[in-house]
Symmetry: C2
Subunit: 210 residues, 2 copies
């Protein structure tokens, strides 16, 4: 089960070319707005070949979708379950990790969240969220800190929401943020880099509130 970065398609097999193209188009436009013809063109192959390899648009989509979500979740579980790092270090690692990831794949969260809107039950269950997040070392550390009175006794999900919101939201809302801030792409990315430094500090300040 080796993992290959999506930006370096070493595997030039037809199957992988199609998957790579599908990932690009699906992520940009979503399932319904994507035409299999566009995927075929992007992959530089014929439409019939797509069905030869993947049987149907929907089956191809399911594969891409599952992999995308695993990218999103899996990539962080290492950070979350590293028993050698403190809560503070985990937050810094998570911020760095996600901000780099989203810089490379800015469309990923909106894609995943949009497609999740309807079919919540089925797909989510395949991600093993329970083991990877609910029972993570990260969450245990939060709960312990609450018990010891080092952070206020609120639902840990608030911290997750704040952290993820501050990291992910700017990418999800980038068109409107660029517009109101009158930023071009590089200025936007510069702000995102700044956030690597700021977000951990902000989170820490929030956690000290009583």
């Amino acid at each position: 089960m080796k993992k290959r970065p999506t930006d370096t398609p070493i595997d030039t097999s037809t199957e992988e070319k199609i998957k790579s193209a599908a990932r690009t188009i699906f992520t940009q436009k979503g399932y319904a707005a994507t035409r299999t013809r566009d995927i075929a063109e992007e992959a530089g192959i014929n439409l019939a070949l797509l069905n030869y390899y993947f049987r149907s648009k929907e089956k191809l989509f399911d594969i891409i979708m599952l992999e995308s979500m695993q990218d999103f979740i899996h990539s962080i579980t290492g950070v979350f379950n590293d028993e050698t790092t403190s809560l503070k270090e985990k937050i810094q690692n998570m911020v760095n990790h996600y901000l780099d990831m989203l810089t490379n794949q800015p469309n990923l969260p909106l894609f995943v969240l949009s497609e999740l809107r309807d079919n919540p039950g089925d797909l989510i269950s395949k991600l093993h969220l329970k083991e990877n997040l609910v029972q993570s070392h990260f969450l245990k550390q939060i709960q312990q800190a609450i018990q010891e009175g080092r952070i206020p006794p609120i639902h840990p999900l608030h911290f997750i929401m704040n952290l993820m919101g501050m990291i992910v939201f700017p990418f999800v809302a980038s068109p409107i943020l660029k517009s109101i801030g009158e930023l071009d792409q590089s200025a936007f990315l510069e702000l995102m880099q700044q956030r690597k430094k700021y977000i951990p500090i902000w989170i820490e300040a929030m956690m000290k509130v009583k």
Copy 2:
């Protein structure tokens, strides 16, 4: 206290019935996945009538989309440009306002942000973001506070991103959050109500960081 878009609207004209139905379906499923037949059925009218009033699916969508975005932006401009309130009060008002709005229309942000992904230029320009946000009293107060050294000298957009991220993100990611937190709908809404109290405090704590 849930608002139901399908309730009989005050304006019972056919045109308004179609628009109301369109708002519901488009917001749930997005443009591409929506079928005009579904809108007609939801509106309790015939498919042909939809084209009689709005010429095409796309023209109908453009109207709904513009109104949705205006809902989202316009509703806040009153708060942002109230010259009688302090920065702190504006933040509290904004949090209350948006959390109530999103509780009633939880699908709105994902809809708007998804559909904005591709056509950024055109639609955004119609919202008068410049007058309503860029030149708002809210932003002026932030800039003044920075000059007076009361908050750190960072790009004001960081505060906007943090504030909006903390407010909006939980609704955008609600399926996954409910799953990892093992929350049902009412428990989720309970958390959202708690955030009315917490977010202003958190933001204030963040702003004091140097």
